[in-house]
């Protein structure tokens, strides 16, 4: 009788042990998030406004990947150029004229074979004239350009050029058509409203990028990319230029203050969601939840039944 009891306790004790261990390993980070209310940080000035000393596009905007951080040389060079327009926390800049010459060399080496020496396009690639520095900055700083292969849609990858080089290329393309297209937006998030950003994101972005910003497959190989790596500058550039299949939104559709609110919502809520309630199961919704409920929930309880009941 005694051995019987001991034998029968071995399985559940092992089970609780394993589950506990897995729980400890997998869920420890999320325990730290169980902080007091309010549960999301207020918008902060994550993106400093450009000053005379710190060049706008360069040091103030490290993209998510280390490769794109500004080189020390950038700090001393005045790359900002002249602000084109500025309202509601977003200032659009045209890169400084001193960047055009080095930009031309980079462009000739990496871009001209498809886009043409004068950025006027070719049979293989579109005309870049008139798109503006902001458009070029988006494609190059997200690593989509230079293109790895000509599939349906360019993929985000670690950028080939550092921040300064990116601005130089943008400056060269912009210099072909001065004053046309969109400048490089510098976003000041200190006045942004997360609530307005939430509502605007749901209305304009969630239909493709999904409400959690995870991105998803559309049709015929096109897809809406994940927003989890996008910087505030890239969000505004994408809104204004409409890369790939994405529609572009002019200031008549989404004002600068609205674009700023969306950028704040993406960089502060989408990229740092309040993940209470335990391990997030990949954030892909009921598919993952169903598998956990069936495999873990029902599975463990069947094991318990197997333990309590007889096997023959």
């Amino acid at each position: 009788m005694r051995t019987l009891i001991r034998g029968r306790f071995a399985l559940p004790v092992a089970l609780v042990g394993v589950v506990g261990l897995v729980g400890l390993v997998a869920f420890t980070p999320s325990a730290a998030q169980a902080g007091p209310a309010p549960v999301a940080t207020a918008p902060t000035a994550t993106t400093a406004a450009p000053t005379a000393k710190a060049p706008a596009g360069a040091a103030a905007h490290p993209t998510a990947t280390a490769a794109s951080t500004a080189s020390p040389a950038a700090a001393g060079t005045s790359v900002t150029g002249s602000p084109l327009t500025s309202s509601h926390g977003i200032t659009y800049y045209e890169p400084a004229g001193s960047l055009i010459a080095p930009g031309q060399a980079l462009y000739a080496a990496s871009c001209a074979s498809c886009h043409g020496v004068d950025a006027a396009g070719s049979a293989r690639a579109p005309n870049l004239q008139g798109l503006g520095a902001g458009t070029v900055d988006f494609w190059v700083s997200t690593g989509r350009m230079p293109l790895a292969n000509s599939s349906v849609q360019a993929t985000r990858k670690p950028p080939r050029f550092n921040r300064l080089q990116t601005l130089e290329i943008a400056a060269f393309v912009q210099s072909r058509t001065p004053g046309l297209g969109i400048g490089i937006p510098v976003v000041n998030l200190s006045q942004a409203s997360l609530a307005a950003g939430n509502s605007l994101f749901t209305l304009n972005c969630a239909a493709c990028h999904t409400i959690t910003g995870a991105g998803d497959e559309l049709a015929y190989g096109a897809y809406a990319p994940s927003l989890h790596l996008a910087t505030a500058t890239q969000v505004v550039e994408a809104i204004r230029s409409g890369p790939g299949n994405m529609p572009h939104f002019s200031e008549g559709n989404i004002t600068n203050s609205e674009a700023r609110d969306i950028a704040a919502y993406v960089t502060e809520v989408i990229q740092h969601p309040v993940d209470r309630g335990g391990f997030g199961l990949g954030g892909i919704g009921p598919v993952g939840e169903g598998f956990v409920a069936l495999l873990f929930g029902v599975g463990v309880l069947m094991l318990v039944a197997f333990w309590i009941g007889e096997r023959s």
Binding site: A195, L203, T212, G215, E217
Partner: protein, 494 residues
Amino acid sequence: MIDSSLRWVDDRLGVAKGGRTFLDKVFPDHWSFMLGEIALYSFVVLLGTGVFLSLYYIPSAHEIIYHGSYLPLRGQKVSEAYASTVGLSFDVKSGLLMRQAHHWAADIFLGSIAVHMARVFFTGAFRKPRELNWIVGVTMLILGIVNGFLGYSLPDDLVSGTGIRIAYSIIESIPLVGSYIAFFLFGGNYPGNGVIIPRFFILHVLIVPAIIVGLLAAHLGLLVKQKHTQFRGRGRTEHNVVGSPMFPTFMAKTTGFLFMTTAVIFLLAGFAQINPIWQFGQYQPYQISYAVQPDWYMGWLDGALRIMPSWEFVGFGHTWPLEVFLPAVLFPGIIFNIFIAWPFIEARHTKDLAYHNLLDRPRDRPKRTAAGAMMLALLFMVFCASSTDVLANFFQIELNYVLWFFRIVVVVVPILTYFVTYKICQEMRHAEGVGKRKRANVVVRTETGEYETYESEARPGDGHEEIEAVPVPTFIDMVPAELATGAGVRRVMR
């Protein structure tokens, strides 16, 4: 003292005789007979956590300004239903735990029903005289799915709102009466006049659970009345049940199982996030999110809808759209009708109208087992089809290829499953000694270094000699030792 008070109760209610029979009710010991209990106990958890949630949830579509502690929502206009659910998650003590426990319990409830139903099906426990109880069970399954959908819709978040929108269109797709039913349910054209949340609420917390509780009572009442089925084995006949008595053995087991079920559900609720509605935002009819799927038990309905080609024809002065009606109304209708009618379909096919209390081994009924496996394969494939976009994104394949993949496998895999299962069953039936106890092979090394093998002696239980069943005495003397309930002692009833 206890004796006299019990006697007092019995003198007035006369329950001793029935109570004695109930306490002596015999439960088979096989583990697969406990799967239905998972459903029963997760239902208990659902009731308990549901009562807690209903204390804080406000079933109203009335719009207010949110002032809770979730910052990105502050100052937005949200419905009271959504605000109170976010409040439950952030501002009510242990509210999020209860919400998640309720949701996980619902997922496990329907999962265990499916597993229990598979056990009943594959062992033939639904045969005469238990067809009615099978139908009661299937009805509870359908009501469970319906109530799961209703509950999932109550938070009024973007994802569940999309589900309500789809449900409205599905109802509308029913020929002739569809629009009238949809108008009746929603109080007008979509999204109605804010009536859908209170209506779903009263259905979810009162009407459907009340029906489920009634059916549950009938389910268990029929179980006691008709007594348990059992597998073939020593001393087991069509006219007895071998196992442990209700009291004390089974009572201890099943109470432990209640605690284990609760523990697993709350373990999940504490560690695994489910349905973080604050990330989804309030539902507005003009907003939508991509990558939306329903809970798993609705997944097969969503999958059928996704892979359906857009067929419609024009005739008789109308356009007849089939792309919603076929997969979302006709398909589940056919599936559930097959479930309900199966005992009668099978009886007609086998011309077997006898009483059955002994169960089949699945391999001994290859056609039924193969048919069941085919149904499982079909439902699993359609279920997987509800995540076409997730799969396409994960494997970086074109969504259209994934759609076509599922259109093909939904037809091919069930048919293959049928034949493979049928063949496996046949092979297992004809294999020598499968399912019988194996004799030990004794290997002996002789003095000259040779090895000899021979089979060991037959052990008790190797043959299948039947022993006589001993009926339970109507009066039990508590003194004799041979009636004490130990681990090895079993009672036989009937």
